[in-house]
Amino acid sequence: MDFDFNEEQKMFKQGVREFFEKECPKSLVKKMMEDEQGNPPELWHKMSQLGWLGLIFPEKYGGGGGNIIDLVALEEEMGRACLPGAFFSTVLLGGLFILNIGSEEQKKDLLPKIAEGKIILTLAINELSASYEAAAVQVEATGDKDNYVISGTKLFVSDAHIADYIICIARTKKGTKPEDGITAFLVDRKSVGVSCTLLKTIAGDKLCEVVFDKVKVSKNHIVGKLDQAWGPLKQTMQQVIIAKCAEMVGGAQRALEMAADHAKQRVQFDRPIGSFPVIQHLIANSMMDVDASRFLTYEAAWKYSEGLPCEKEIAMAKLCTSEAYQRVTATGEQVLGGIGYTTDGDMQLYYKRAKAAELTLGDGNFHRKALAKELSK
């Protein structure tokens, strides 16, 4: 039993924290929320040089050979820093998917470029139904001898507007089971017929509507096997959810610290407000929320890294962490009062990001359903 990172990971995590404190100030975070591109090039370049963009790729693909617990350490610090940009879309959604089921040729081509910060990748899953279920994949790809033609609209696609490639999850066959007949296509964003519209989102995440209007894709650009993308997609989502939970844990920890710091300094009725039990109890509840999220996330990550079954643990981690992060930041807003409500303050960043993260990759109800399915077995 060991609830902590090992010494090497602790040093790594500390290094990441110090780097982001210097290189990713909240002024940059706020600027990127308004910025159309949303991915600060200088920071992206530095992260690639530090090896963080390829941290979880094997060395033979230009990566650092890290495991998911290393990724958790990195993501916690990213969440703490409110890191803007394309790490989630490029490294997690796109990179992990390619790593999991891409051909050797695709891996050799794309992963080193991701690690070097040369390309932006993303994965288009959701559609107008806003569902993560297999049956929701309705965008169609019809094939002839050499090519497929994709038509339909994908929604909530991260960073598609700046992506070099969009991996489009499309329906290639209407079978009896909705999980069958789903295929992933690597689409060059500059292909004829692809159009992106940036959506305005609460936390400044760059989510797009991507319309595929008879977009022609070569058969060679299928990622994985024809009609069988759903399984590998689910597996990739497991890793991405663990990473997202770690990001939320890092953010929640910081929001808790900010609320506690404010409670120690802010004087009303001639005493620091943190000496009032009403405030102490809000802080104690947030501490429990953060600890619960942290340990569930760590346990899920550890089980995944050991190759143990972890469907339940991942569902528990996401359902708890999503809702806990939201509560912790709402408590932060309450403790900070007016200054938390202004855009000058930083608590608002966490408050908004928490809600966006809660909705991403399945909210509490989605994962309670997944867990109930496991419990009913």
Partner: protein, 408 residues
């Protein structure tokens, strides 16, 4: 990072294996079916038939306090052997050895070991190791969470104290022989300074024990002291130093409270029930209003498990668990109450049926839990106080300034 849970006995030495086998065989012969049934029925401490006799038998083997020296009634074994006895009992009895602590001198023993004189050790340790029963005498009508304001007065009279006053919520006082008693020896000193710890004989003249009945139907007591003579040699630690002794004892008690088996058992029972029971023509578990809270509660049971493992991990690493033990205690007590409350809703009209009633579902345990779990959020330290403790100890918030009340 590693979340592997060790299986019991995985790291035993050859000698420990032998000891474990011996204990196991003895337990198989001496744990009665009524003891097992009593704990399975989720009865509360001290109400398990046969538990007292079992504790005394365990005492004759020296296994109630296995690491104590033989002359004190222990088995003179190294420290790790206590957990072997505890683990082997846990394999056979639902509550594990927890029920023994409340029955015997489980709280008094380690304190006497640390603070007692040689004479006191010789007198009390063998009694405790043999299973002598103690009741706790802390709380009073006007001293609950603010325990240090206790008023039960012990006046010096030669070699004795004359004790007058009242204790409340003294569970087990009607059958225990001894009272682990916090008294005020000096009313002139500040309230934390004038307290002493003594052992009182509950059969002494002037002691009256009257019944208080809780909503869990568990009996607890008021204990009245009317000019009761207690020899000074029964005082543990120096006069006026009782407060630090109580605190040591409270920490030991609180550490045990979080590791409570009910939440997991009750949620498993509810899931099973919802899968097997049909209402309006379909399994209850297919109703989102049923699976939603159950999936949530199952998650929270796992969170509790992780909180407890974390406390254990800190102890193992030699780190003071500090407020994290309180965190686990708060979480357990409130989760237990949520489970009972939501469990009753899932059972619907059946939810109100008591254990033993015709048509009672899940043996009536959810209904019992709804009543019995109330005590856990204020017993062993109120959750309100523990939350403030978390925030001040864990996040460095300033303590609340004390308000000085004018005395009438």
């Amino acid at each position: 990072m590693e979340f592997k849970e060790y299986t019991i006995g995985e790291f035993d030495t050859e000698e420990q294996k032998k000891f474990r086998k011996e204990v196991g065989e003895w337990l198989d012969k001496n744990i009665t079916s009524e003891l097992i049934q009593g704990t399975n029925e989720l009865r509360v401490t001290a109400y398990i038939p046969g538990a007292r006799e079992f504790a005394e038998k365990l005492g004759t083997k020296g296994w109630l306090c296995p690491e104590w020296p033989k002359e004190y009634g222990g088995a003179g074994l190294p420290a790790g052997y206590r957990s072997i006895v505890a683990e082997e009992i846990s394999k056979r009895v639902l509550f594990g050895p927890g029920f023994l602590g409340g029955l015997t001198g489980g709280v008094a023993g380690p304190v006497i070991m640390e603070h007692g004189t040689l004479e006191q050790k010789k007198e009390w340790m063998p009694k405790i190791a043999a299973g002598a029963q103690f009741a706790l005498g802390y709380t009073e009508p006007n001293a609950g969470t603010d325990l240090a304001s206790l008023q039960l007065r012990a006046t010096s009279d030669g070699d004795d104290y004359i004790v007058n006053g009242q204790k409340m919520f003294s569970t087990g006082a009607h059958f225990a022989r001894y009272h682990w008693l916090a008294v005020r020896t000096n009313p002139e000193m500040p309230k934390h300074k004038g307290v002493s710890m003594i052992i009182a004989d509950l059969k002494a003249p002037g002691v009256t024990v009257t019944q208080l009945t809780t909503i869990a139907r568990e009996r607890t007591n008021e204990v009245f002291y009317d000019n009761v003579r207690i020899p000074k040699k029964n005082r543990i630690g120096p006069e006026g130093e009782g407060w630090s002794i109580i605190r040591t004892a409270l920490v030991a008690e609180r550490g045990d409270l979080g590791t409570f088996p009910w939440p997991k058992i009750l949620v498993n029972d509810l899931v099973q029930y919802a899968k097997e029971t049909k209402r309006d023509g379909k399994p209850l578990f297919e109703d989102p209003l049923v699976w939603q809270p159950l999936a949530q509660l199952a998650t929270e049971v796992n969170i509790l498990r992780l909180f407890n493992l974390r406390v254990g991990w800190m102890v193992e690493k030699g780190i003071d668990p500090d407020w994290t033990a309180g965190e686990a205690k708060i979480y357990e007590s409130e989760l237990s109450q949520r489970i009972a409350n939501q469990g009753m809703n899932i059972l619907g009209l059946y939810g109100q049926l008591e254990p033993g009633s015709k048509y009672a579902q899940i043996k009536g345990n959810i209904e019992l839990a709804y009543r019995a779990m109330v005590v856990r959020s204020f017993g062993g330290g109120s959750n309100a106080m523990l939350r403030s403790n978390m925030a001040t100890r864990g996040m460095g918030l300033p303590r609340e300034p004390r308000l000085v009340m004018q005395k009438k």
